[in-house]
Symmetry: C2
Subunit: 533 residues, 2 copies
Amino acid sequence: MSIYDDFEKTSANHVALSPLSFIKRTALMFPDRDAVIYGDRCYSWSQLYGRAKQLASALNAHGIVKGDTVAILSANTPEMVEAHFGIPMSGAVLNTINTRLDSDTIGYILDHGEAKVFIVDGELAPQAAVAVAERNILIIDIADLQDNLKPNRIGTIDYADFISKGNVNADWDMPADEWDAIALNYTSGSTGRPKGVVYHHRGAYLMSMGVIADWGLPRHPKYLYTVPMFHCNGWCHGWTMAALAGTIICTRTVSPSVVYNAIYDHGVTHFGGAPIVLGMILNAHDNDRKPFDYTVNVMTAGAPPPAAVLEGIEKLGFDVTQVYGLTETYGHTVMSTWNSDWDNLPQDERAIMKSRQGAGMVHTDGLRVVDINGADVPADGKTFGEILIRGNTVMKGYLKNPQATSEAFADGWFRSEDLAVMHANGYVEIKDRLKDIIISGGENISSVEVEGILHRHPSIALAAVVAMRDEKWGEVPCAFVELKDGASATEIEVINFCREHLAGFKRPKKVVFGDLPKTATGKIQKYELRGRI
Amino acid sequence: MSIYDDFEKTSANHVALSPLSFIKRTALMFPDRDAVIYGDRCYSWSQLYGRAKQLASALNAHGIVKGDTVAILSANTPEMVEAHFGIPMSGAVLNTINTRLDSDTIGYILDHGEAKVFIVDGELAPQAAVAVAERNILIIDIADLQDNLKPNRIGTIDYADFISKGNVNADWDMPADEWDAIALNYTSGSTGRPKGVVYHHRGAYLMSMGVIADWGLPRHPKYLYTVPMFHCNGWCHGWTMAALAGTIICTRTVSPSVVYNAIYDHGVTHFGGAPIVLGMILNAHDNDRKPFDYTVNVMTAGAPPPAAVLEGIEKLGFDVTQVYGLTETYGHTVMSTWNSDWDNLPQDERAIMKSRQGAGMVHTDGLRVVDINGADVPADGKTFGEILIRGNTVMKGYLKNPQATSEAFADGWFRSEDLAVMHANGYVEIKDRLKDIIISGGENISSVEVEGILHRHPSIALAAVVAMRDEKWGEVPCAFVELKDGASATEIEVINFCREHLAGFKRPKKVVFGDLPKTATGKIQKYELRGRI
């Protein structure tokens, strides 16, 4: 006992951390600033807050209570933004569903998450219709007049009608406990059924504050929402924008012209995207480009961006920050924070520094790379190990799956199943997914390393390398490549190009040309490629 | 029960919030960047972290354990900075003591806080010597060779020797619970004995993150520490700098030349200070000034800065942000956040907006102004009420004083005892301390309002207004004024000046010329003035 033990928590000095506090404050301080822009539609922060309160009160009027699940299948529209506030304000847990999933998987998620309400974007109604057949769930259809989408009704309630019956001045409660669930996000499920990852209010708050500090976000950023909001709640950036009274520019599609037009029309200062989006911008047609005279900040994640892409896009006026994380970590938890000590390095060494995933963000308590025995590998930039993560933005756990949760949290750390090396200064560099490593004649080959070389080939737009069975070596690399428009290359030429830049045993033994299969978030579906060989 | 109730907190996904995490991370990521500069002394972040670990392990070796109090009486030196990390890293609670206190009060604080160790800056040894006489406490003397201060030893242990016996690689524990105490700060005690305000790790962490978001702090700020670190832990800015890998420039004294030299020599980007510091800079001699070609950001608090001072200093290249808070709220909890809607207002209206204390910061959950019955006053900018505050940066409570704690937290809100009006957008404007209001013939007179008018008088450098007993009116205003160097004014002229700008009943009935008594943080000691009439 000490003299300091004698204090009670009271409502004066202990308040649950929640990103919902951000919208309440911003609607009060900056009621008239643009919160959301989507084509001709625009809501101020007081309007967005009012709509969120309407949504919350309408859900409550339909019997939704704390701990219920409300699912939404939607592109990045204003409705998707307000769902991030209104659904948790109702006490419910927000379950955003990947828009590229098949009906069967959507149905599985609705069942597993026990959703009581399902809000469906008109564009996505066909795949939702099959999923909800024979399921007892309240369906709310969003008719998106903006894009002249046919109001594909699959239920009986229209979203606009639904929220119009809610109360724009409704009272709502902050969570009683910051450990309460705020969101449910299913993993991509590349093997077996997806797992339901549960986020809490505390983590969503700390994630937002950490991103402000580490990305150096100013007040009032103009944020183009190119990252799907169904993916880790769009990296939690909608909540971050509420904290900063930013403006969210919504878009249904991502293309070079969408990005350049948003910069030109709205002065976009920040956006995020998979490396594939960076590549898209780099290789854009000239008539899709528009000039801008300031730096646009881009956060990228999902796969290590090739150094050549990083180098190219920075010359166009984009400042790229690479981050790393998983659905289980609310999105990014590691950032390739630039160190000004590297300012004077030659351009290629700068690109190497930028291509590393980085160090734990301010909200990440611990980041380690460990060997198979759980011991830290030396910080030598060479020794492979698995990334372990600890912090307040690690999920509560997997929904209704205590076994998977306890396996993921073995030894008090979250196991990422990603392979990396540790550099000095605590920066990790991802080498591969544990299961993507190729073991050839007893040697580890990083598919990421081989892909990095392939991306330097002047004709190659995109490349993926997976293991192929081999009589002699056990496994050998097999490359799948997409060529740039109008470019050509042959298998032998590509293999020779790799031989020039790689140890012989690392070069692909086979090269397959054609379009690569991608997930909704732009990740290449390697399991799909493995099925092709 | 819901499906979301079934998750345990584990060390993988629940980590205590503490500003100590900042220094650990920054020492890893930016080991060689300057952390602290003090004259010719400079420590990098890895050196500062090493010294903090030495201090922590040396304290532990002397028997200091979790929940003990370690006091320090020091100017803003590197030792004071490292105390903010090393003392909590040892598990102890950091008790910084106001350097301007008399020996009797210092002794009272050492007794009341039950300090086991007392670290004393050589400059302050004389007043400490009397305080520690006949007290059983381990004294550690800092001999500050930087300023060629005589090593005024009052104990037997030298600070440099003490920490040299600590381990630069010592392990240390993050707090087990973020609600654990990190610091003990005594109120200024304008009436009766000072009260011991207890801060916790959670609040110090959230305060640091909130200031980054709301002040728009970039990575690597250059921060001049003009705010005494004994005052609300220097507004927690030392911890904030650790989060951003900033550089702290220490100084024993505050003067225009100190500020201008630090800008010139170190590229200072941010500092804080009472309005008196702003006035000092505004009225500096030309040969104390040095040119700079960027904006220097200044946070000010402690008293409402006169609009004329705000206007003048901004023309010199300083961007002033006013904040408001109390020792009980870790320093600032309200910020006069600029709204770009006001950009095109005339200069005088802009200055009025800037002179308001502002809205709750992002880490402040609630800010209200209530009438005597506890009901919110209308947000009309006119109706007086008391400011109430709620949030995670409200103190745990007063040490060993549960009655004062429960009075301060009546009805679940912290009572500030400050009088204000509420404007639209949630901005408060302080009118006075509850006890500083002057009630004249049944009308409330705000001493702050009268002071604002006096500050516009061309000859007046500083003014304070207090209540004076009056047979007829009950109370009337009495003004105390300091004139600018070489300026002159008469009582009748000052009263007439006020009559031109104020309702007749608000004008001072008496004007006293001379130096004003100030606290260590630059606040005018009104209780002292009241004793003079």
